[in-house]
């Protein structure tokens, strides 16, 4: 069977079930593709041995007739998910040698559903970044190139490796995480589909924490259907995560084709922000038209506190991060500086050497906003704004079932273009951070290409735990957009 790596997750699942292809064959095809794509730096760690073992076990189960929903399907795992016995780095030097003795709940759920692990995907250090350039293991490079240019572009971040691996057909799907857009931004700029579920839908247990009240796991994959399949397997209530929610996980795939007829889609006027590329505005309008043409009602809504979302996010997230990252101190595991004088020296040197500049910046911001005398002015006010931002959505959802917005202010940019100016980089999250602050689910899928041939995404924002409707609307837009573009495999050795 040719073109194994071109299959979607759903197609591969059906092919495996129909015994047209074995898991071992699929796995081998992807491992070969990964090898040929090493210049993209999508993986920090490849796990071919584990992959072949898991594939062989899957093939046995398939032969025995007791295959599970993801049986034998090879996936990439963002290197923020702790994997038992497999190095887990969070893209940081400080964890460059860390091998967990436990498996994250979400990845365990995937293995329990039969999936196969290909390797650990690259990411921004501790998921802090929008371009995957802050990784200690070097930037991941987008498989996409602008027409007539060989400039290396970012795959978005922080789940850049996951998005890159899906986009370049190096896996059938990938896990990702989203604290302020880390699933949706990379999906948008690589022509892939990603869903950040409602906060509490997936367990955070075993996922290296960035900002606990915002972090949420989700998939990046080829299609809306693939997202539905993966999310069903990843989501669960977890007694080990007090913030996970005990609600049944619906069969997201079942209602996928129900269409948008009768759904009211809100267009938040505050999302028409300065600095957004005209092409983004155009695709946004087009998206609304497509949905309208399929029977949805388009309503303008207002989210008046949107302009406070970025400053709020860049207080709350660093505050939590500054505390979450305190455990990386060189004492028990991870990087420890050499030649230290005393305890303070051990802390200072290990952390200064172990953390990259973006992580250090956020730890400093977070420490500052929580400090005596500043707490009320920053952290407390940010918490109040967070409530107001959440309330904006509650109000808006009185007039509509979901929102449609751009995913990013523009297409992928060149590596090095924004990294020296953190504020410009932070502005790239303008459409995504609101959702995390409100804890809502959000789906991003490709809607078209720029003049220069780069993917543009659109974002749906739904009511809490209404992922099913979100996926259904996403499927309708996917059908209308007919986005079939793939990057040219320039990275393969000739």
């Amino acid at each position: 069977m040719s073109g194994l790596t071109d299959l979607t997750l759903a197609e591969a699942r059906d092919a495996v079930a129909a015994k047209k292809v074995s898991s071992s064959e699929l796995t081998e095809a992807f491992l070969k593709a990964m090898e040929a794509a090493r210049s993209l730096n999508a993986f920090i760690t490849e796990t071919p041995e584990r992959a072949f073992e898991m594939a062989a076990a899957s093939d046995k189960r398939i032969a025995a007739g007791n295959a599970r929903p993801l049986e034998g399907l090879p996936l990439a795992i963002k290197d923020l998910y702790c994997t038992k016995g497999v190095r887990t780095t969070a893209g940081s030097k400080i964890l460059h040698n860390y091998v967990p003795q436990y498996e994250s709940t979400v990845s365990q759920n995937l293995w329990d559903n039969g999936a196969v692990m290909l390797g650990k995907a690259n990411l921004d250090e501790f998921a802090m970044g929008s371009s995957n350039e802050t990784s200690y293991f070097g930037p991941c490079i987008s498989p996409w190139r602008a027409k007539g240019s060989d400039a290396k572009l970012v795959p978005g971040g922080s789940s850049g490796g996951s998005a890159c691996a899906v986009s370049a057909n190096l896996c059938l799907g990938a896990t990702a995480t989203d604290t302020g857009g880390s699933i949706r931004t990379p999906a948008a700029v690589t022509g892939t589909t990603g869903i950040k579920p409602t906060y509490g839908r997936c367990s955070r247990w075993g996922i290296v924490a960035f900002a606990s009240s915002l972090d949420q796991a989700g998939p990046i994959s080829h299609t809306v259907r693939d997202c539905a399949i993966m999310l069903k397997a990843m989501a669960s209530v977890d007694p080990k995560d007090s913030t996970s929610v005990d609600l049944p996980v619906p069969d997201y795939e079942a209602g996928l084709e129900a269409g948008v007829k009768g759904l009211r889609i809100g267009i938040p006027k505050e999302y028409r922000v300065e600095g957004t590329s005209p092409e983004i505005d155009a695709i946004w309008n087009k998206g609304a038209d497509w949905l309208k043409a399929q029977g949805a009602e388009i309503v303008e809504v207002s989210l008046p506190h949107t302009k406070y979302a970025l400053p709020t996010y860049y207080i709350v997230a660093p505050a939590e991060a500054s505390s979450n990252l305190a455990r990386y101190d060189g004492v028990r595991y991870g990087h420890r500086a050499e030649g230290i004088e005393d305890l303070i020296d051990l802390y200072q040197k290990s952390r200064a050497e172990g953390f990259g500049s973006e992580v250090r910046r956020r730890i400093l911001i977070g420490t500052y906003v929580l400090s005596a005398g500043y707490y009320d002015a920053y952290y407390l006010r940010a918490q109040k704004l967070r409530s107001l931002i959440a309330r904006d959505f509650t109000e808006a959802f009185k007039q509509c079932d979901m929102l449609l917005t751009p995913a990013t202010p523009g297409p992928a940019f060149a590596i090095g273009e924004k990294i020296s100016d953190p504020v410009t980089m932070y502005l790239y999250d303008v459409f995504t951070v609101t959702v995390n602050l409100a804890g809502l689910p959000s789906l991003v899928l490709p809607a078209g290409l720029t003049e220069s041939g780069l993917p543009l995404g659109l974002q749906f924002i739904g009511k809490a735990f209404d992922e099913a409707t979100l996926l259904r609307a996403g499927r309708a837009l996917e059908v209308a957009a007919q986005f079939t573009a793939k990057p040219q495999p320039w990275w393969r050795a000739p």
């Binding site: 998910y81 702790c82 887990t88 969070a90 964890l95 860390y98 967990p100 003795q101 436990y102 994250s104 955070r204 247990w205 075993g206 996922i207 290296v208 924490a209 900002a211 606990s212 009240s213 007694p239 080990k240 995560d241 007090s242 913030t243 505050a319 939590e320 500054s322 505390s323 990252l325 305190a326 455990r327 101190d329 004492v331 028990r332 595991y333 305890l343 802390y347 420490t367 929580l370 400090s371 005596a372 707490y375 952290y379």
Partner: protein, 492 residues
């Protein structure tokens, strides 16, 4: 001001000073598992053998509240007659130290689980003082740094990391080192009655930070100093006395007290400031985003309240209603084991007053002499109850009873069968006693004459009769018969 209050003042060169003390007591919650992980809490295990991934703060690990620890905190709050807050919040207290793996301690800062309450303490002279409780909150313990295991390395034992503590904060209501000691003993009794903390200060299950200031009587509160991490009542008393005197000396020589954290040097009996590095913390408290606010249902709290055991104050009243003196009742309730032992004796049929006298005058004294705890004593409550009942029923005399106790103490056995088999039964047969009395009278005509003149000499006759009967005669009967034979009237 009462005399009691005046006695607590300390004299300086400018007149009397009043000592003001407030305590922050850390009580380890009695629970098999830690506050946020399932790891065991048993004391004395091998270093780092009781550490879960959560306790070691491995990447991606999350805390999950142990419901039983919450229940224990609520139970303690109820025992302190305190307000139970149905809504409370866990916060992170951030600081770096090798025995604090996460770099923060999960504690409760602005919204503790228990609010204001009170404890009554019993002072010498029967005075009862009320000590206000400010709050009780739950928090995790840190691990232990070991600096004495290697010439140039420090080790960390995380067994204690994550164990649940209740921090109980008093109002500045204590006025002397004695009151502080009385409070700690009372608090210890309360948590032991409740079964929420074993109160074992040697093993660190109860530790206190002591806040001390001094002022002229009636003046506003002065700046305080905090003496950290004390784990012995005796040292706390010493530390308060030293610190109060130090502050008086500073103030009287024209100095001012700066708020600071102190350590008590037990060897030299003095307080000294901690290094400034040890205390210069900005803890950057904020609500722990890994944990939802703790919301309790009133019905659940009511359920705990209805299952609360009788506490020392109520038990003391209860014992006094049975006819015990306030002193006897107080002695018995001070230690839960003593009260339990006493109640077990009553259950076996002993009369309360007699049982209390026997325990306080005989049995506890013997235990103290050999340094045994009540629970470790060699004589069961049933055996002591039998002895007391035999005294009450005039089966044995008080003197014989002590001998029986000696025998049971050293040899064991059932007191009733011992008395039977060794012929220790008291002679209550009037005929036999009369015979013995007559013999003594006949043999001592001179004493008879003397006794008629001076009735108190009856005692000599009684003694002789007791001797003649080997101590088995009932002394009350002997006394009556001697008086009757000598013609001395019975008096009150």
């Amino acid at each position: 001001m009462s005399t009691e209050a005046k006695n607590k003042l300390i004299q300086g060169s400018t007149g009397p000073w009043e000592v003001v003390v407030g305590l922050e007591v850390h009580c380890q919650v009695l629970s098999k598992a830690k506050l946020f992980s399932g790891a065991s809490t048993v004391f004395g295990a091998d270093p780092n053998s009781q550490v879960s991934f959560v306790d070691a703060a491995m990447p991606g690990m999350l805390p999950v509240i142990n419901r039983y620890c919450v229940e224990q905190a609520v139970r303690t709050g109820l025992g302190l007659k305190a307000k139970i807050n149905l809504f409370s919040v866990f916060d992170r207290k951030n600081y770096f130290y090798p025995d604090l793996p996460a770099g923060y301690q999960i504690s409760q800062y602005k919204n503790p689980i228990v609010g204001e309450g009170e404890v009554l303490i019993d002072l010498p002279g029967g005075e009862v003082a009320r000590v206000g409780i400010e709050r009780l909150h739950l928090e995790q313990d840190a691990g232990k740094s070991l600096h004495d295991q290697h010439p140039d390395h420090s080790f960390v034992d995380l067994n204690r990391s994550g164990i649940a503590l209740m921090e109980i904060v008093t109002k500045p209501d204590l006025r002397s080192s004695e009151e502080a000691a009385a409070f700690l003993k009372k608090l210890r009794a309360i948590v032991r009655y409740l079964g929420t903390c074993d109160g074992n200060m040697d093993e660190g299950s109860m530790r206190a930070d002591v806040n001390v200031s001094v002022r002229k009587p009636g003046a506003p509160l002065n700046t305080r100093c905090e003496i950290k991490n004390m784990n012995s009542v005796r040292f706390i008393v010493q530390a308060i006395e030293f610190e109060a005197r130090r502050q008086v000396d500073v103030l009287e020589s024209g100095g001012t007290i700066h708020q600071q954290t102190l350590l008590f040097d037990a060897k030299n009996g003095e307080t000294r400031p901690m290094r400034s590095k040890e205390e210069a913390h900005d803890y950057r408290y904020f609500p722990d985003p890994d944990l939802l606010p703790l919301e309790l249902e009133q019905a659940w709290v009511d359920g705990i309240a209805s299952s609360l055991p009788e506490l020392p104050d109520e038990k003391k009243n209860h014992f006094m209603e049975m006819g015990l003196s306030s002193y006897d009742a107080l002695v018995l309730v001070a230690e839960k084991e003593a009260a339990d032992y006493f109640e077990a004796m009553l259950k076996e049929g002993a009369e309360p007053k007699a049982a209390a006298n026997w325990l306080n005058n005989e049995y506890f004294g013997r235990l103290n002499k050999v340094g045994l705890a009540i629970g470790d004593g060699p004589v069961s409550a049933a055996a002591n109850s039998a002895i007391v009942q035999m005294i009450s029923a005039n089966v044995i005399s008080g003197k014989t009873a002590k001998d029986v106790l000696d025998i049971v103490w050293s040899e064991g056995g059932d007191p009733r069968s011992l008395v039977e088999s060794r012929g220790l039964k008291q002679v209550t047969d009037t005929g036999a006693i009369e015979e013995a009395v007559d013999k003594v009278i006949a043999a001592n005509p001179d004493k008879v004459a003397a006794a008629k003149a001076k009735p108190s000499l009856v005692g000599w006759f009684v003694g002789q009769v007791m001797k003649a009967t080997g101590g088995k005669a009932n002394p009350v009967s002997v006394n009556a018969i001697v008086k009757e034979r000598l013609g001395i009237p019975e008096e009150g």
